[in-house]
Amino acid sequence: MNSKLTLEEVATNVRKAARHVNQSEGLIFEKSAPGKRGMELPPLDVPAVDPAEALGAELTRGEIEGFPEVSEIEVIRHFTRLSTWNYAIDLGMYPLGSCTMKYNPRVNEFVARLDGLASEHPAQPVDVSQGCLRILYDLKQCLLAITGMDTATLQPVAGAQGELTGLLMIRAYLESQGNARKKVLIPDSAHGTNPASVVIAGYEVQNIKSNERGQIDTDHLREFCTEDVAALMVTNPSTLGVFEERIAEIAAILHERGALLYMDGANMNALAGVARPGDFGVDVMHLNLHKTFSTPHGGGGPGAGPVAVKKILEPFLPVPVIAKKENRYVLETVRPKSIGRVRAHSGNFGVLLRALAYTLAYGPGIRQATQDAVLNANYIRKNLEDSFDLPYDLPSMHEVVFSDARQKKHGVNTMDIAKRLIDYGFHPYTTAFPLIVPGAMMIEPTESESKEECDLFIDAMRSIAAEAETNPEIVKTAPHSTRVGRLDEVAAARKPILRWKP
């Protein structure tokens, strides 16, 4: 790039491209022209049917207005170009705290597409589904080993659905004990899905404040934990990346009062192979396979949120339950105490399969992965402590949460620093979460990053800290290297334009 020309100058006369073809790609609808098409079907080998005759004119439709008409190569170009506007793990470190953006192994994509796996219908007879069922069974066994729990369901398709499933099982259990109770306790540091799930389970949310160390205040807990309380939902390590040191005491308080301990397992990347929730009193927990178990996020999903439980909750598992009977795998559907189904078909099998591939790749070595993840987080913490404010000075596990307190003095906030990171070639960390840290900067490197990459990240963060003092403007107006600058979110929400129109 000739540095003497500004980009606007370079773009003079360039109708198609600002800087490069990808930079001015329109919407697919804007490329459409009558008669084009990107995919053919085999010729019809049975007599054709007139739809109006077969269905009646009132049940048939005409042309779908505005629907795309483009060629195969146009589709490829469009989406290839669009893809270049994304950042991704495959392009660099993605230290998004709480999201565990680790390497998504390519071999998992390969095996998920095998003929005989991708091709299988969820309603086909179990006799010809033994391979799929074995995959599910094997994964379940692995997850039980890692969590130290007694049994599990693989049906929930995301963490949030796992939460709901777990809460419904808690409710069903308590009901079977005679009283479903009314409330679920949730620390103020919890993820938004926790309270949202509680409501769908028909409970009230009772928020509880973290203590000055960011941990659950056991005195507080004792006070709140009345006969009305069904459960406490704890994230452990917490969203501060800190282990709840009093977890056993917490469990004891709950159990003593007939309530259960739910653990949000989104942060299992700090524990797998090192400690088992089943050992420290957890009754129900979900796992985010799209976090800890490396399945790709795909720009927002899919996921899988298996729920592992203690024995007492087994009768309430959603149907169907995968079981092994005399070397044959079966799906149990008749389970009278079951909470029912949370999703049609058998859950996100394709995601579950990838999670198993991940687990098999590590085996007992999963402990090493966890150690590396925690090591990376602590290495970054150590190297950034001098530059950024650390609101809770407790031992970090897989992630570390700083705040923008020091940079705020120069008018630079966590979002500005995050955006400036983009110019340095990194995805931002998580901003504005957890809520208990004003101006939070939540950094989770995962075990996938090498020391070299961590060092570059540390350099970038330090450099931005310096810029915040010497040249705050460049930080506040970042990013400067992307196709578009900061976008007007307020305008977007005020008068929403949510679809293309001709």
């Binding site: 990107g38 009646g56 095996v111 095998l114 010809v128 391979g131 080993a145 949202a196 790749a361």
Partner: protein, 436 residues
């Protein structure tokens, strides 16, 4: 790195975990496996399934033509390995594609706004019902029995603790909802009437009439679509208030149950009660068009217990896959694909009805699925068919005790005529063989 941190060993990093909870032994997990061994493990599993079988199953999961193009594109690391596009400046690829997805879903369903995305059809329908409850402030829901039984089960699970009262409405000889029972009395206080079209029996429902009935009583009409390819020729449910759709038919492999992609489409005026993510158009400071996630105040990460739903991670990658698939097949191709389904199903029904003792159960118009009555148990027939590497009709008796000996047959554009004829020939032969 340990030095830099000032610890002697990695174990020290875990000292905040109480000693007694720290594992000493490696976990008893299979592995570690190299890539080659992982592939071998899964290839062995694939061989234990129905690879190479011809299947006549549908019932919410359909075998449709898909292009390798879509699969190649969603495997680009930039799409595959990115997170939810919260940081819009480096997520314009995903955001633009989501905006296109929303547009396509509106075009297909005849609705004004669509989200991106829900977990699947069953949860989309469930959330549509919850949405209707919020919109009407009413707590009774009427659900057609011709709605996918598993969808109804999911609704029941979610609804149980929300004070929602669900009543089921039967079906007529046509296989359609028994609209005659939807009297003013029955509809009083109802939040939504829920139908599926094509319904679980493959039969199309009459949406305009049902909408009128529902609206007449102040209720909303929620329409579920499990077989989205039908929209290539079937009139879209424009009169419905909320459409909850399963998008698996748009180029997503069956994959033993998921991942698929659900979607909710509705009227503009209901958007603020809609669950799920939405991408909206906006501009940057230089006036360039760009897209952002918007109306986030509906969502759990902002509103927590007051959110419209608990959904966070969704099925974005498969929304992308469906988008690419629909761009490829295009306006003409989608219609053609739908027509092929119609023609093949009609042909198959005619072939099968020729078999003595086999007859169509419902008189309603069907798209690519239909219900047949057999002179003996469908399970027994299927058992014999499996030996011929054919997966036969779905037995309906499990979910509809009154429909034993009935099976649901699905025939899509991917089914060669010769295989349809083979199915017919085999069923004929099986039925000719006396039960031993």
């Amino acid at each position: 790195m340990l030095d830099a941190i000032g610890v002697a060993s990695a174990d020290e990093l875990f000292e905040s975990i109480p000693e007694k909870f720290r594992l000493r032994e490696p976990l008893p997990l299979p592995g570690p496996m190299s890539e080659m061994e992982i592939i071998q493990y899964f290839q062995a599993r694939a061989a234990e399934n129905a690879r190479g079988y011809t299947s006549f199953l549908g019932a919410g999961v359909y075998q449709h033509a898909r292009s390798v193009v879509a699969d190649a594109l969603i495997q680009r690391g930039e799409f595959l390995t990115s997170y939810t596009p919260y940081q819009a400046e480096i997520s314009q690829g995903t955001l633009t594609a989501i905006f296109e997805f929303q547009t396509l879903m509106c075009q297909l369903t005849g609705q004004e706004v669509a989200n991106a995305s829900m977990y699947d059809g069953s949860t989309a329908m469930t959330e549509a019902v919850l949405m209707a409850e919020r919109l009407t402030g009413r707590h009774r829901v009427l659900v057609a029995r011709s709605v996918h039984p598993e969808y109804r089960q999911v609704l029941a699970t979610y609804a149980k603790n929300l004070g929602l009262q669900i009543e089921e409405i039967g079906y007529t000889k046509s296989g359609q909802i028994d609209a005659a029972t939807l009297t003013g009395e029955k509809l009083g206080d109802v939040a939504a009437v829920v139908v599926q079209s094509p319904n679980f029996f493959g039969v199309l429902e009459e949406i305009p009439v049902l909408a009128e009935t529902a609206h007449g009583a102040g209720a909303l009409l929620v329409t579920t679509i499990a077989e989205a390819v039908s929209l290539g020729i079937v009139r879209p449910p424009v009169e419905a208030d909320i459409v909850a759709m399963e998008g698996q038919s748009f180029g997503i492999p069956p994959s033993y149950g998921g991942p698929y992609v659900g979607v909710i489409a509705t009227r503009d005026k209901f958007v603020r009660q809609m669950p799920g993510r939405l991408a909206g158009r906006t501009t940057d400071s230089a006036g360039r068009r760009g897209f952002v996630l918007t109306l986030a105040t509906r969502e759990q990460h902002i509103r927590r217990e007051k959110a419209t739903s608990n959904i966070c991670t969704n099925e974005a990658l498969y929304a992308l896959a469906a988008t690419i698939h629909l761009c490829l097949i295009g306006k003409e191709g989608l219609r053609e694909m739908a027509l092929h389904n119609l023609a093949k199903a009609k042909f198959a029904a005619a072939e099968l009805e020729k078999i003595p003792g086999v007859r169509r159960v419902f008189s309603g118009r069907v798209f690519n699925e239909f219900v047949l009555e057999f002179p003996r148990s469908v399970k027994l027939i299927n058992h014999a068919l499996l030996r011929e590497k054919i997966i036969g009709p779905l037995p309906l008796g499990v979910h509809y005790p009154e429909l034993t000996k009935r099976g649901l047959v699905c025939v899509t554009e991917t089914m060669p005529r010769a295989e349809i004829e083979r199915l017919a020939a085999n069923i004929k032969k099986i039925l000719e063989t006396p039960l031993s």
